[in-house]
Point group: C2
Chain length 252, copies 2
């Protein structure tokens, strides 16, 4: 699905650069600027600095005069606005709307079955005035990022970052970098280690076999929670072995 980010009348060059970066980390690269304050905004120093390597997004970006020119090929338009407009499209939280749009959650009763759009555009108004009513009216939905009711002042690039993140997650997301697998050792290996440790604790005179209290069950629970790997079991047995050897040496 084609995804486009449209910035309308943006004033700060730094924000344009930060938006390019925010899009690129989430794998999006179609940026259109409608009547930005600076006609050379894509080449300004502050823009390039804040883009921090997302230069291809800036190079590919288009500057147009009107919103109409920005919307070719798009068939689902998402406004972003903090305050709902009377007569405007329904206001929705991004996650909820994206799930419905992609047919991942039951639509509102009575609604048409979901037809996934071919092109989705996210529209962001100027830093100072937000979106004009006329621009909001033509959209299919108005996305509102749920913020503290007493402080809803989201930076433009921060808003793009959150929408790009939620949209990427809804589209299936990126995998995390290959994680170091950490399979826990089995119960038998853990029990073997505990027996070894118990001998060592007796040897160093910490555990009295005649009055063991509940030490070993406590340690068993502790290690159950920690769920050690085979390698960690090996380390712990090494510690037990060293304790036993030192105790033997001391008592020689």
């Amino acid at each position: 699905m084609h995804s486009r980010f449209v910035l309308i009348q943006t004033s700060h060059a730094g924000n344009v650069g930060a938006v390019a970066r925010a899009m690129k980390v989430m794998g999006f690269d179609d940026l259109v600027l409608v009547a930005p304050r600076w006609s050379n905004v894509l080449r300004r120093e502050e823009t390039i600095q804040r883009a921090s390597g997302a230069n291809d997004v800036l190079t590919k970006a288009r500057i147009v005069d009107t919103l109409d020119e920005a919307l070719d090929g798009m068939d689902h338009l998402c406004a972003t606005a903090m305050t709902p407009r009377d007569f405007g499209p329904p206001t929705r939280a991004p996650r909820e709307h994206f799930a419905a749009l992609l047919g991942q959650s039951p639509e509102a009763p009575g609604a048409a079955p979901p037809n996934q759009p071919g092109g989705v555009a996210f529209l962001f108004g100027s830093e100072r005035f937000g979106m004009r009513n006329e621009d909001v009216y033509r959209c299919h939905t108005c996305l509102s990022i749920p913020t503290d009711p007493h402080f809803g002042s989201l930076n433009l690039a921060a808003a793009v970052q959150l929408i790009a993140y939620d949209w990427r997650q809804a589209l299936g997301g990126f995998a995390l970098p290959p994680a170091t697998a950490r399979p826990a050792a089995d119960a038998q290996a853990l029990a073997g280690m505990l027996t070894h440790l118990e001998q060592a604790l007796v040897a160093v005179d910490f555990l009295d076999p005649a009055a063991p209290k509940k030490l070993m069950p406590r340690l068993n629970q502790l290690f159950n929670r920690a769920a050690p790997t085979d390698e960690e079991i090996h380390i712990l047995r090494g510690v037990a072995k060293a304790m036993l050897q030192m105790a033997e040496k001391a008592k020689r």
Copy 2:
């Protein structure tokens, strides 16, 4: 649950301001800076400008020399790092980890039942070097925001914004501003409007009653999808009425 954001050796004042703003829009206000580059960073012009009104977060923020001093009262530590460390804590995506931490999803088999922590700290390393290994090792988990595998360069404030958002959502989220409720009219009201419209379409010679083709079923489907409100039904009946009146006038 107490939530704290800890920035370690941050170099850019603008980022500190942007972080304060990112926290505040998600309703968080406990910020601690460990050995920032500028000792007066909380009062620098760029900081205050980028905080954009989140001044109370800056006023309340603490500057300390060591990570230890930043962690009083915290019992669950989340590192943030793009690359997992050998011997470090398990790497998790924020949403998945937060759900598990709050007991909202089944824990991994064999894990202990979730005990919700009293204080959760999110640790962010310096812009240039990220977190030191020693600092990552002491954490319970390493959060990794899923980004494009070819471009994972998240701005510091953008990373804070995403973590603060996911954490706030996991904690229950904020409500959207009161939406204009839009209850759809019932089927009878819709059918009445369609009958009225049909008469009007005949009157203006658009619909031939002798050869109606499938016009009315098509319009019926169109209005079913649009799910008009009572008010919109009223508008549409007004249109039909005006069409009927004008047709009568024309044929007089």
